[in-house]
Subunit: 219 residues, 2 copies
């Protein structure tokens, strides 16, 4: 329905959104592409082109309506409805994620926590009791969970990913440092902290400039 939005643009929309939320809180009603570009740390022309994919709602000579733009971006990203999330693997990282409020406040409430360790099952973290991985299927269906976050060791990541897909999760975010295979229909994104550090290592060593957000690409 909505027209096709380029990957690079999609990756920037959340940044624009964050900047706009900030702007809105200061009472600003309108914003120019130049001002937004400044806040988001990108080129003004890029901002205009990106926004043009959402439909052309700017007013020449004036700029964009902040509130309206926020709604447009929210719609494009599917933030108009809440997307329930399950975290699998309640170790160091899983616990930190569970405690973090930034997900719920951005439309991704964490509704279930899962682990394989008997010692962890039953523990309550941030108001949610940890369930056993064997019950994943039931849990996902019960809460209509759409997103699975993998925070298990790398060895377990593929098994967990398979289980999530089988249970009906529609997209996956993985923190495990391993290559995962999922069906084409399930969007998968990876965050690998050690990899990030190694990339920094290269640029640092070469003493060459290389600032960069972590935009995505690939098929």
């Amino acid at each position: 329905m909505a027209r096709e939005i380029p990957d690079a643009t999609v990756a920037r929309l959340p940044i624009y959104r964050r900047s706009l939320v900030e702007l809105a809180s200061t009472g600003a009603e309108m914003v120019s592409s130049a001002a937004l570009a400044d806040l988001a740390g990108v080129n003004a022309a890029k901002v205009r082109k990106d926004l043009s994919y959402l439909g052309t709602y700017g007013v020449r000579g004036v700029g964009y309506d902040v509130k309206f733009l926020l709604r447009q971006i929210g719609d494009a990203l599917g933030l108009d409805i809440e997307t329930p999330v399950v975290i699998v693997g309640m170790g160091n990282l899983g616990q930190a994620l569970a405690h973090y409020g930034g997900f719920s406040s951005r439309g991704f409430p964490i509704v279930a926590l899962v682990d394989a360790s008997e010692a962890k099952v039953g523990q309550v973290v941030d108001g949610i009791a940890i369930s056993h991985i064997d019950d994943l299927d039931t849990i996902v269906k019960e809460h209509a969970i759409a997103v699975g976050i993998i925070a298990t060791p790398a060895e377990a990541a593929q098994i967990v990913a398979d289980a999530l897909v089988a249970a009906g999760v529609r997209s996956i975010l993985s923190f495990a440092p391993s290559v995962l295979h999922v069906p084409e229909t399930v969007p998968l994104r990876k965050v690998d902290l050690a990899t990030e550090l190694q990339i920094l290592g290269y640029y640092q060593q070469r003493e060459s400039p290389a600032e960069g957000g972590n935009t995505d690409k690939s098929a």
Copy 2:
């Protein structure tokens, strides 16, 4: 000295490295670009082209020497020497990062922890006492710290980034959801979990496939 390596390639080197470490542990001596491509989840031609930037050390008809390749990649990424890291902001995320062993084992030992809260200063996490942010300068110089990890709230991120740069840190990894400005000479990478979820939201909503590692770009 080493020839210029494209950004996209640099971002993949750590993945190759991980796959090679795995291979080496199984006793494999040689590996073909096709096999490595399979492990890393990329195209075989891309593997060959990527590796060719490191110099041309493959043997036609045979493949690449696993151990030698590991050394080559390690050198390119600057992993031949240990790179000390400081974590700033010891809340949920900072604590999880401090407990994580994956950094030290990959050449990035965490040698200092810093926070602004009096309540946290002095606490010992994973064998390291938390220091006060005011002492950052001294700490960085004392330990010859090269990388700063920012795990503070977004509001404090820019101040912390400035302090890190002033103290002499050479590159920065930030988890704060905010746009940071640093000198061109300081490589900066951002990891924003909420943004990742929002990006997933888009593809999920469109039910279109969009797997992807998080490769970087930008000037």
